[in-house]
Amino acid sequence: MQTIRLYGKSMAMLIRSQLQYPASFLMQTLAQLVMEGGEMLAVILLVQRFDHLNQWTAGNLYFFFGLMAVSFYITECFGRGITGAFPSMVRTGQLDTLLLRPRGVLTQVLCSAVDPRRITCIAVGIVSLVLGSRLSAIRWSFPKILLLLESIFCSFWLILGLFMIEAVLCIYSVKSVELANTLTYGGRSACQYPVDTYPRTLRILFTVVAPFALVMHIPASHILDKPLFAWPAWTAFVTPLAGFVLFGVMYLLFTSAMQHYRSAGN
């Protein structure tokens, strides 16, 4: 509870400090809109040319794209400490300052940065979700709304966990950012389309290693009433929990990496 209070206060302060430079904030926010708008345009052009991909209609594809955009940018917005700021905290020794305070390191890292410019990307994602829902004529029910929220929530932890790979690597001062990017940004680009459009190896990658399929595609396919697998409906509520599992594993690795940091230091 105290952690949530601290997080709230930190966010309020960080946002206030970003608003110290309103012009820069506004321009960067608009730049984000152009960027994410371009991504969506790619999907629009695709469905205009082919009008469906396997069994997925244009509306379905908008829905998948929106789900990914909302989840990914919520993570980049609120998990900025891990997704962006962490490597430089290690390099500059700012991490030491965090170790000198009586709070968990990961908590403090997450409290140390926020990226509210992503709000436009999240907005594009929401527009795409609404559009997809209209075009696919989804019949919304309470369980479906719950499933969508669960999927987004679990995706946050999944994506945060994937970004933690880079964080862990940079504690060991290994510069293999590109490797980590394959799963994070690569995963985002690939998995804004449903997983069954890909060959077997990629399907395995996005189910077992970076389980976007379990966390996003299975619940989304149930919401669209086109289940990916012929599994009972309740399984769609279970598979997203894979996001927590991945985050849990990464959390343990992060903790042991911090032990290494404290015995090696800088």
Binding site: M13, G93, D96, L99, R262, A264, G265
Partner: protein
Amino acid sequence: MSYIHVEGLCKHFDIRLKREKGSLIRGKKRVQALQDVSFDVEQGELVGYIGPNGAGKSTTVKILSGILTPDEGTVTVGGRVPWKERKAHVRRIGVVFGQRMQLWWDVPIADSFELLKEIWHIPDNAYHKRLAELAEALRLEDLLRTPLRQLSLGQRMRAELCGSLLHSPELLFLDEPTIGLDAVTKLALRDFLLWENREHHTTILLTTHDMEDIAALCSRVMVLGRGQKLYDGQLSELLSRYDTQRILTVRYDRMPVLPELPAPVSAVAENETLRLTCRTADLDMDTLLPLLQQAGTIRELIVQPQNIDHLIAAMYQEMGL
């Protein structure tokens, strides 16, 4: 047992070397940062920790504050092992790195302090009392609403110090706190540290290259070189060992006729001024003074010991650092 107890402390770092031509693996070099360092500090002491760059000062501070784990040795601070109980340990200590800021750049410092209050779980009334006290002692009252980025270096240092002391630590580590500060700010900062030590019985461990800081603040000084403790005791005693030279400056009313001086004294004349250097043991004013008077009419005579930085340099040199 002493408040800080350090025994047989060892710490090494592996430094990765540049890959040699034709070799696939990068070599490693082992650097011994601390070798068998032991000392004790009692509560309320003000201890200076000096040594040339790379001597292991910061490594010691990092181990004592729980950021690093040593290879060998026992360390307890107030009965706790710093790196084993990090959260409980850091609750009672404050650390100020002269070159690393913990406050937030773009917000008023009062807002930064509010967030620190949250991080450290400081109760409301304790916080307000402590903030008022520190703001007065550090003359920060008028700056509380100013964003950190608009403050001068000296003001920023004072704000940092205030932030690090809000939770009333019983032990304070200062790593080069006066680096880059002007004379007035330096003096004010020293006064403040003495005040904090006296009022709250705060134990202070100070690392610095500024010998004036040590002279003004610390009765006890520890010298570290190449990872080993070389001296631990009174500053005055340390200085007296190396205080072997005297500099005499004699100003005449006109160009002096250079006198014949006894051998161990060397002299340099510069217009009306004569500068003499000699070992303290060879200084014999009784013979020297008449000779100097023969050279002309003396307007001013100054006898000085060597500058404190020279003494420390001489000491480092003798210790082979």
